[in-house]
Amino acid sequence: MQLHTTHFSALGSRNEIQLYLPESTSAKEYIEPVIREINRIEKKYSRYQPDSLLSKINQNAGIQPVALDEETEGLLHYAEQCHVASNGMFDITSGILRKVWRFDKESTLPSREEISRLVPRIGWKNVFREPGGVFLRKKGMEIDFGGIGKEYAADRAAQLLQELGINHGMVNLGGDIRAVGPQADGSPWKIGIQSPAQPSAIHTIFPLYVGAIATSGSYERVITIGSKQYCHLLNPMTGWPIEDAFSSVSVIADHCMVAGSITTIAMLLGRQSGEQWLRESGLQYLAE
């Protein structure tokens, strides 16, 4: 068996697929359908592409319902489960806050007025779903699949590889990782987690035989005003950053989607509730 590593860009990140194949086999036959599948998901659910299904749903907010296929209904159902599980802290309508919050080095704090103008447009309760369709009740409201979409693509990619007969491979979509079986010699994939204090250093190595690992960090995208740091994780109810968020959380689960949303919810809940949430999940995690 020979290890083939392919790098490509999609979903706004650098991605990697590693496959063990018999000597004579071309990786292209396996990689190409996977990249096509990832591109399909990106095109359908991108908030940047005006002709995506997601953009169509948002453009029709407050105007009319939009017909949905089974896949999108499934994603919305998943988003609802996350919303319920987190008591409303995970809300796919909260992405609209990005209009006023920016988290690069020169960013400044938005004004209270700017934030309070947007908060009324947030709320999962205003996403009206019926079989085969969805209607965003308020004009100007938006949904996006941040925190779900990339993880879903990783699961889909892994599933496709499995269906094509791959037993030893790994999909890494910008840090959302799903293993398709262990390495060819039966040993686990070794997944290094960056240290929040020293991002260039690997701080822990997780062995991964099957399943997925997802990581969320609050240390990379922050605004520092004086001694106070504002992280990019926003409370959908107030429109303000989570104050006592973990620096970094990693979770191992069967599905990358689940690992990703458990991680995000732990961040959104803050250290105290988040720690309890992670402990009670029964999953393997690393939080600091």
């Binding site: 000597e23 086999t25 292209k28 990249i35 599948e37 896949e71 319920v84 989607m257």
Partner: protein
Amino acid sequence: MAATKARKGTQAVACLNSAAAALLGISAPAVAGPPLNLQTDIEYVRYEEEGGKRMTVDGPRISIRAPHGEEAAFTLNLSHESVSGASPAVVTFSSGNKPNITLSGASIQETQNHVDGTYTLYDGDRSWSMGLGHAKENDYRSRFGSLSVARSIDQGNTELTAGIGFSSDDIQSTNDPSLNEKRNTSELSIGASRTISPTRLLQTTLLNRHGRGYFNDPYKNTFCIGCGSVFLPDLRPGERNEWLLTSRLRNHFPESRTTLKAEYRFYHDDWGVNAHTLDLGWIVESGTPWNIEAGVRYHTQSEADFFVGSYTEASRVNQGETVSSDYRLSSYGTLSSLMRLSRKMSDASTLDFNMEHIRQDPSLHFGSTGSLFESMDAWLLSVNLKQEF
């Protein structure tokens, strides 16, 4: 903080797991799109009948497929083939009533050049293609074009296609410089392909082609005993309506790393020709740098209404106006066996060696024995290099 105590963890994980499993249980649509990189396919083909005694065809073929942005692709096919030898010109009877194919006196020595290009635009679940092409020999010229549309439905698991095509041909003859005839053909096709699973694909297409104009072969004659002229020119109807139904199944078996290919074609035209072709192939990924494909193809066809081996003045009256002794319009069968050895050179290139033996024999005709032609053996050999950049 506004964070309140969340739903109890394990229960939440169970709910999320079940929602994720349900979502991933929806079969993922297969996606069509332009190739990710430039692809080239260079092939050298040699075909010879009866060890090169009858007809040989030699030459390179080049195919280039290039992405144009993220949503379009361009395909260009070029070929340059030299044809030499002689195509059968007339059928005569030797003793024992066994027909002989007499080769035309002047041996053919010509080149065939072919170029065609297709531009395809991909737009979500649809794609549009437009193609144009040109083929030229020293006594024949064809210009052709096509338009087709494909649409995927049912989460992309089913693809429907429809297309139209036209061709305009000029037919000349080196034997008769005054001959300058035309033939126009139009065709319609519809098709559906269904991805039953990521490893199983079923495809069916139906094509109807309608041609009007000059269909005679200016190099062919029919032998007539007792007619004023011994050799009568090939004379076919001025119109032809053809139907072709093709069904394909491709099944990959990941466990054994093998793939089964099966194809059946049914052909019918209003000249009375009915043909059935069955193609079976088995690809084995051997675990060495070499992969092997082995296959067999069986073809059987009935003769055209106006086909005769040869005839007499008396039978000529019943024959009507049209007559041809072209063996391609006779009833016969062929059995081909083919072998492909594929050598993976790198992740981006593959070298293929193809070998096909074709046995054409009247006794291979399904049911009654076919027209009384002699059997023929032919070989098709090709080397092919596929490269991705």
